[in-house]
C-alpha cells in the first residue's frame, strides 16, 4: 500500500461511495460489521475491486486471559480470505470475559503476565490468518498500579516477541497522555518505529470526571489541533505510513471526511490524486 490517507468506511456513506467512487488512499472497515452476510458486505466486495482495504477488528479481545474465541476468529479469517485486505489490525485491549462481550476496549495492566497473554493471542491470530497483524495503542481512561512497563515498552516487547506490527493512533496517544498525565513526546520516544504499519487519526471530546477535564475518544469531530501537531512530529520522526481518518459519532457528510483525509495526506507529504486508488 502506498502511504496515502484513507477513510473509515461507515455504512451511511456506503451507497454514496459505491456510486461516486471518490478518490481516497484506502478504505478501512470494522471486521465485526461484515461477518454476517448482508447487502452491505456485497457492496464492500464490489468496492474491493477499486480500492485497497484495511480490515480493523474491534472484537478479537487480544488481551483476554481466556485466549481468543476460535469461532469468532474463524469468521474474521473467512472475511479476510474474501477481501484480501492490505492491512489487518485490532487493539491492545480486551472485551471478553467469562463468555460475555462488553463492546468496549478495556485496559490491560502492563505486566509480564499480561504481555504473555497478549503475545499468545497475537501468535494465534497471526498463525490462523497466516499474516502479520497490526496492534493499536488504545485510548486509556485509567492505569493499573501494578503495571511494571509503560505502554510503549509493552508494545515494543509485544512486537519483539510476536513479530506483529503497530497501528499508531495519534489521537489515542493524546487522549491517554492527557488522562494519565503522561508526556506524549516521551511516550513516542520508546516505540519500535520500524514496526509501525499504519497511523490512525480521529477527533476526541473534552468531558468531565470528578470536576476535572478528561478526554473521551468519541470519534465525533475533526482531528484536534494538538493531535495534528503530534501527528506532524510522528511523521517527522518515523516517516509516512498509510493513515486513516476515523469518524463514528455524529458522522458528517462524506466530503468532510474526505477533506480531513486530504489534510492527513498533506501532513504525510502525499497528495491524494484521482488515480491513487488501488489498481
Amino acid at each position: 500500500m502506498n502511504a496515502g490517507a484513507g477513510i473509515g468506511l461507515r455504512s451511511p456513506h456506503l451507497a454514496e461511495i459505491a456510486r461516486d467512487r471518490p478518490a481516497t488512499g484506502f478504505l478501512e472497515i470494522h471486521a465485526e460489521n461484515y461477518l454476517a452476510t448482508s447487502p452491505a458486505l456485497e457492496t464492500v466486495e464490489l468496492l474491493r475491486r477499486d480500492y485497497e482495504f484495511s480490515v480493523h477488528a474491534v472484537g478479537l479481545s487480544l488481551g483476554s486471559v481466556d485466549g481468543l474465541d476460535e469461532a469468532h476468529l474463524d469468521r474474521v479469517a473467512a472475511l479476510i480470505d474474501r477481501l484480501q485486505p492490505t492491512l489487518v489490525s485490532d487493539h491492545l485491549s480486551w472485551s471478553v470475559a467469562g463468555g460475555r462481550y462488553f463492546n468496549d476496549l478495556l485496559p490491560l495492566p502492563y505486566t509480564e503476565e499480561a504481555l504473555q497473554a497478549v503475545v499468545r493471542n497475537v501468535d494465534r491470530l497471526q498463525e490462523r490468518l497466516r499474516r502479520r497483524v497490526l496492534v493499536e495503542n488504545p485510548s486509556c481512561y485509567l492505569a493499573f498500579a501494578h503495571s511494571t512497563l509503560s505502554e510503549p515498552e509493552f508494545l515494543a516487547e509485544l512486537v519483539g516477541r510476536s513479530g506483529c506490527g503497530l497501528l499508531l493512533d495519534a489521537n489515542n496517544i493524546s487522549v491517554t497522555a492527557h488522562n494519565l498525565r503522561l508526556d506524549p513526546e516521551a511516550w513516542l520516544g520508546n516505540l519500535p518505529a520500524s514496526a509501525i504499519g499504519e497511523y490512525h487519526l480521529a477527533g476526541h471530546t473534552v468531558n468531565e470526571a470528578d470536576g476535572e477535564p478528561i478526554l473521551i475518544d468519541d470519534h465525533g469531530s475533526r482531528v484536534a489541533d494538538g493531535v495534528w501537531s503530534l501527528f506532524d512530529e510522528i511523521v517527522r520522526r518515523h516517516g509516512p505510513r498509510p493513515t486513516l481518518v476515523e469518524w463514528d459519532t455524529d458522522l458528517p457528510a462524506l466530503d468532510v471526511l474526505l477533506d480531513e483525509a486530504r489534510r492527513a495526506g498533506r501532513a504525510l507529504g502525499v497528495e491524494v490524486e484521482a488515480d491513487a486508488r488501488a489498481a
Partner: protein, 82 residues
C-alpha cells in the same frame, strides 16, 4: 384426480405463468432496512460515558419516564392506564 385437486393444480400452474403479478408484488413492499444501517460495531468511546447514573437509578427512572414518540399517534394505545 378429483375436481378440487385439478382446480388447485391449475391455480398453482397458472401462478408460474403470471408475469403481471411480479410488478404488483414488488410494488406493494416498502423499503425498510437498507445498507445505511449495517454498522453497529465501532471502536469509539460513548460521548456520555462520564455522565449518566448507576444502573439501579436508570431502572428506577424508567418508571417515571413516559414513552414519547410515534405512540402518540396510536389510539386506543392506552398511553395512560384507563
Amino acid at each position: 384426480m378429483n375436481t378440487t385437486r385439478v382446480a388447485i393444480a391449475s391455480a398453482l400452474a397458472a401462478a408460474l405463468v403470471l408475469p403481471a403479478a411480479t410488478s404488483q408484488a414488488q410494488g406493494n413492499m416498502e423499503k425498510c432496512y437498507g445498507i445505511a444501517k449495517a454498522g453497529k460495531n465501532d471502536c469509539q468511546t460513548a460521548k456520555s460515558s462520564c455522565a449518566g447514573t448507576s444502573k439501579k437509578d436508570a431502572q428506577a427512572d424508567a418508571w417515571v419516564s413516559v414513552p414519547k414518540g410515534a405512540c402518540e399517534k396510536i389510539v386506543n394505545g392506552k398511553l395512560t392506564p384507563s
